[in-house]
């Protein structure tokens, strides 16, 4: 009885410990990806992820560069920034540029867009260091001052 159990346990153990190693190596992979992203072009403003990546069940980059005129965020693939979070609507929100200032706009999403933890009602200006919450992820808006 114990012999059979012991045989089973050793296979389960080996499977489990390799799964444990796999789950940590996955984190190493995400880490290394992040190191590669650091060599990006710093001129444009960008969004920086605040969440810990391993807690999320979907792929999200550490940095997102913003486009020149407007940047759309959502789950659909026509968006500039596509995030496959189930709490994000197909067309979720939009960042537009007007005379050097950046404005965040909600595109009628189901779960809303948050600016510094306050639900966005209309359009609001985002400044350097503001936190933008969309679905389960939260970004830091970074705009370097020249």
């Amino acid at each position: 009885m114990v012999t059979i159990l012991s045989w089973i346990v050793r296979y389960i153990f080996i499977a489990m410990i390799y799964y444990f190693i796999y789950s940590i190596i996955r984190l190493i992979y995400l880490d290394i990806q992040q190191i590669n992203m650091r060599g990006r072009n710093q001129d444009y403003p960008y969004l920086k992820l605040i969440n810990r990546k391993d807690r999320l069940g979907f792929v999200v980059q550490e940095f997102y560069d913003l486009r020149e005129n407007e940047t759309t965020i959502g789950r659909g693939k026509e968006n500039d920034i596509q995030i496959l979070d189930k709490y994000i609507s197909t067309q979720h929100s939009k960042l537009t540029v007007d005379e050097g200032a950046y404005f965040l706009e909600d595109l009628g999403s189901v779960n809303g867009t948050y600016l510094n933890s306050v639900k966005l009602q209309d359009v609001a200006e985002v400044k350097n260091g503001d936190r933008i919450g969309i679905g389960q992820v939260e970004f830091l808006f970074v705009k370097e001052v020249d």
Partner: protein, 412 residues
């Protein structure tokens, strides 16, 4: 199946809990007439690990993977020790309890006290004092005079000296002007190594030299001096081969242990037999015969793991060390301040070399020298010093993350 995925495979900590419950359940059925204390011990151990893990997350203590990896190694060690001898297993759990407390103490002390980089004389004095105490009151265990007996338990001062040595190196590279010149520094380093050699603790001497030469290679610009150091090491090695009998025995049994299986080569051949008996998947926990290997609970525990859990289990252990060392290097790379950088590097290197020396020794890759396998081997002082060292590394990981936040604030 869904429940299994959700409950067990969800997060690394749940995998750890599952492995522990599996091991101790099996041990409960295996050892003796259904001894309840094993289940209690297993639950206590798991509970302690879970509590520590959640404390690390809740108090936001930086890197959360170090503790996970070291706890899975410790629980593997405890399970193995229980299987070899329940007395050792139970004592190891007690040591783990003390070590976990010291892990947090090391974390907080290292963060509170800001004067760590200024105490180079304290570190030198501390390690010399420990050496003197060892020579004066030390007891000889298995040919090496490196134990101090206090009351009923033995304590290995070299484990504490290891930490002093790392701090000494770090303090020197922060303020090199504190020691008159680089030759004084080299003199102190070689004093450590020679004293360890005199204690006949060759594994530790190798370990200290490895850590020193790696850090020296990174921080010293003078390549000639580095080569002189290598030459000095080769000289010391050759010299000790010709003058000290035990070094020669170690070296000869490494080259050909089969010549004298019953005598000098007994340890290493038994270890190789055990690894070979394990095969790919091992004989199963409790079904092998690791009792034939001498010192199986300390130096040769890796052979016992290989026998009972197979070479896949053994490789898994090596991979766990790989990940642990990777986290150490990651933390080192993120630090900019020279003192803490060398401390992080020193701790990482110490434990990586220690693992290499002992695993390489038992599989006959390098000459066998007696050091413990970090976190897995039985031994209070080695477990405690390892936990203290990784507590410091945890504090450094927190510091390196804070450094990042500081950069962010500047950008605002």
């Amino acid at each position: 199946m869904f429940l299994f995925r959700k409950l067990v495979l969800g997060r690394p900590i749940t995998i750890l809990i599952f492995i522990n419950l599996m091991f101790f359940g099996l041990l409960f059925l295996m050892v003796g007439p259904y001894d309840r204390s094993i289940l209690v011990a297993g639950v206590l151990l798991t509970l302690l690990m879970v509590v520590c893990y959640y404390l690390i997350i809740k108090l936001d203590m930086g890197d959360q993977y170090i503790f996970l990896i070291i706890s899975i190694l410790t629980s593997l060690g405890v399970a193995m020790l229980y299987r070899l001898n329940p007395v050792y297993g139970f004592r190891q759990i007690t040591w783990f309890g003390i070590a976990a407390v010291l892990y947090f103490m090391a974390y907080f002390l290292f963060r509170w006290i800001k004067l760590w980089d200024k105490g180079i004389y304290v570190y030198i004095a501390g390690s010399i004092l420990l050496f003197v105490v060892t020579f004066a009151f030390g007891t000889t265990v298995k040919g090496a005079t490196n134990w101090i007996r206090i009351g009923s338990f033995n304590f290995q001062p070299a484990e504490a000296i290891k930490l002093f040595f790392i701090f000494m190196l770090a303090a020197y590279f922060k303020y090199p002007e504190k020691l008159k010149n680089t030759y004084v520094f080299l003199g102190i380093v070689y004093l450590h190594i020679i004293l360890l050699t005199l204690q006949r603790d060759m594994g530790m001497a190798m370990l200290f030299f490895g850590v020193f030469i790696s850090i020296y290679y990174i921080y010293q610009t003078d390549i000639k001096l580095f080569l002189y150091n290598i030459a000095a090491a080769v000289t010391i090695g050759t010299f000790s081969y010709f003058t000290m009998n035990h070094v020669r025995v170690r070296f000869d049994t490494w080259l050909n242990p089969w010549k004298d299986i019953a005598g000098r080569g007994y340890q290493i051949t038994q270890s190789l037999f055990a690894i070979a008996a394990g095969g790919f998947f091992g004989s199963g926990l409790g079904l092998g015969t690791p009792g034939y290997i001498p010192e199986v609970h300390t130096d040769f525990i890796f052979s016992a793991i290989c026998e009972e859990l197979g070479i896949f289990g053994g490789i898994a252990v090596v991979l766990l060390y790989f990940i642990m060392i990777y986290r150490g290097f990651k933390i080192t790379l993120m630090i900019n301040e020279p003192f803490t950088k060398v401390v992080a590097l020193g701790i990482t290197l110490t434990y990586s070399y220690q693992t290499f020396i002992i695993i390489g020794g038992v599989i006959k890759l390098i000459p066998l020298t007696g050091v413990t396998l970090p976190f897995v081997s039985y031994g209070g002082s080695s477990l405690i010093s390892a936990f203290v060292a990784f507590g410091i590394l945890q504090a450094l990981s927190k510091k390196s993350l804070e450094g990042e936040e500081f950069v962010e604030l500047e950008q605002r």
